[in-house]
Symmetry: C2
Subunit: 321 residues, 2 copies
């Protein structure tokens, strides 16, 4: 981890996934017309996360770049996996210990799921929670806390002292839509505003943070040969963030029969009859991961003073620009 | 071309484009549960158009299969292009001159554009026009007549005595959505009903056919280096089939300036001030073709008696099943 006392910039990454074009479009626009990104007073570094995959308009070439920042992978200096090399390159050029360090990262993503404009947090680092709370206070964005998921690790944002993903949808892969770029831009500009306020010692956070905490992911029902035997029920499609209760329609099988939501043991144990808030419903890229949707618990947390202090300590070292 | 006197089947093709999953899902369901396709009394052959691309969840591997049925390509028996080989294979297995011939093809596609449930015709073959008119009479589907486009040739459906594409959207690439499969299924079942009626000599066609005739495709405005300098204006996104008039917003550039619709000379010459009906607005796969949208003219044609006769001649040779 970088030394937060060393001065550094804010890194904005587009196209960590090469077929998510909206963040890349914004990065390109801001490079061509720096004045078109609302000025926050902070120095911002812009980069394309996976240029080769972006050129090919594919999510990745060899492996998901946003699962390639695990320590065990990053140590492989001679890895033949292109995304491992790209992860190492991003850290070498823009990491907290690089010659031109970045201290905070905003990682721009889009999704085919109807997630709206939202934030993804990877774990509970106090500075991340403060940045998310500040953004939620300004824009009301929902937050997916993607933690404790042993099948999904090695996220980009975890390698910077502070960082999160801005996730906007629904939008198809490979498509730039003005409404999606506008939402993404708004989240980036307000995130920079939160960081600038933290740097100036005038950050005010709301009293509580609403998070949707990851519990478990569900796959589609499958046939013996592994092929899907059902799809998301039409009453559940596009209903990310809306609660689901035991017995409500979740999938519809090939014969047209409804498959109801049968809460997993993990959620039943928590009481509330397995009540959950689904996210990333029918995200195109998650099919190969065996994820039809993820279930979360909606929780309201009091905002702790230590969060803002942690963010202020990092923000104090942000370079003006 | 096949001899329409020889008996043959109706071919239904899913995943001519490997990342258009909804048609492939239906083909898979109908293979597993033949009874779940509403029985038309006609023998139906089901196939995956591009199995390798489907397995990779990519539109194609070497070239667009639905642009690979041009005579000059099909003659290349030793072509290294995988889609040319696949086009040859489809014709060898299911073509009108194959040992188990198919006489009619329904080619199932999906699009990221908000096209709804619609039909794509490639040219003005009387039997195709009759099939489309029958479907339009039953379901009211709009029809895109994709003709006279020198940049886009070699479509699959042209190689069977009768055929068209069923195109449904918006849906992201790589995603199966119940509502999209339902619309696709409906169009397939009603197309089979039209063919069965034609075979039985009881086909009734409406008195007119409404077609949206291809005129010209427009690319995004681009910078000197070829990269896009604008996106579809948010007031035009998702508004396929709705007329556009000179001066109305079409694109929005990187500075947020509106770029109005400036009718091409071809359309101005037709009078009506360049009035056009856009289709395939912001289709993900057309970016690489330099197509941001296509402009059509909406035309009402009287249905000619010869169309139904041409379809009846082919349908008479369809095998019962």
């Amino acid at each position: 981890m970088g030394n937060s006392q060393q001065a550094g910039r804010v890194l904005v990454v587009g196209a960590t996934h090469g077929n998510e074009r909206n963040g890349a479009w914004l990065v390109e626009v801001w490079r061509q017309r720096p004045g078109s990104l609302r000025q926050s007073g902070l120095a911002v570094e812009l980069t394309i996360g996976n240029p080769e995959a972006h050129a090919a308009c594919r999510r990745y070439l060899d492996r998901d770049l946003n699962r390639s920042f695990a320590s065990g992978l990053l140590e492989q200096a001679d890895s033949p996996v292109r995304e491992v090399q790209q992860a190492r390159r991003l850290l070498a050029c823009h990491g907290p210990d690089s010659p031109q360090p970045c201290l905070v990262v905003l990682d721009l993503h889009s999704t085919t799921a109807a997630m709206g404009n939202c934030l993804v947090l990877y774990g509970r680092r106090p500075a991340d929670l403060a940045l998310a709370a500040g953004l939620q206070g300004l824009l009301g964005l929902p937050i997916y806390l993607h933690e404790a998921d042993p099948a999904q690790t090695g996220f980009l944002a975890e390698r910077w002292p502070c960082g999160l993903a801005i996730e906007v949808g629904p939008v198809p892969q490979g498509v730039v839509q003005a409404a999606i770029t506008r939402q993404t831009r708004l989240a980036v500009e307000e995130a920079l505003a939160v960081l600038a306020a933290a740097r100036a010692g005038r950050l005010r956070l709301p009293s509580q943070l609403v998070v949707h905490r990851h519990r478990i992911s569900l796959d589609l029902p499958r046939r013996a040969d592994g092929s899907p035997a059902a799809v998301i029920h039409p009453l559940r499609q596009h209903r990310d963030w809306q609660p689901i209760r035991a017995g409500e329609p979740l999938f519809i099988d090939e014969a047209g029969a409804v498959i109801a939501y049968d809460p997993p043991a993990e959620l039943l144990a928590a009481g509330e009859g397995g009540l959950a808030w689904p996210v990333f419903i029918n995200e195109a890229a998650y099919g190969e991961k065996g994820i039809a949707l993820s279930l979360t618990s909606r929780e309201c947390w009091p905002v702790e003073a230590g969060w803002g202090e942690a963010l202020a300590a990092i923000a104090a070292a942000l370079e003006p620009g």
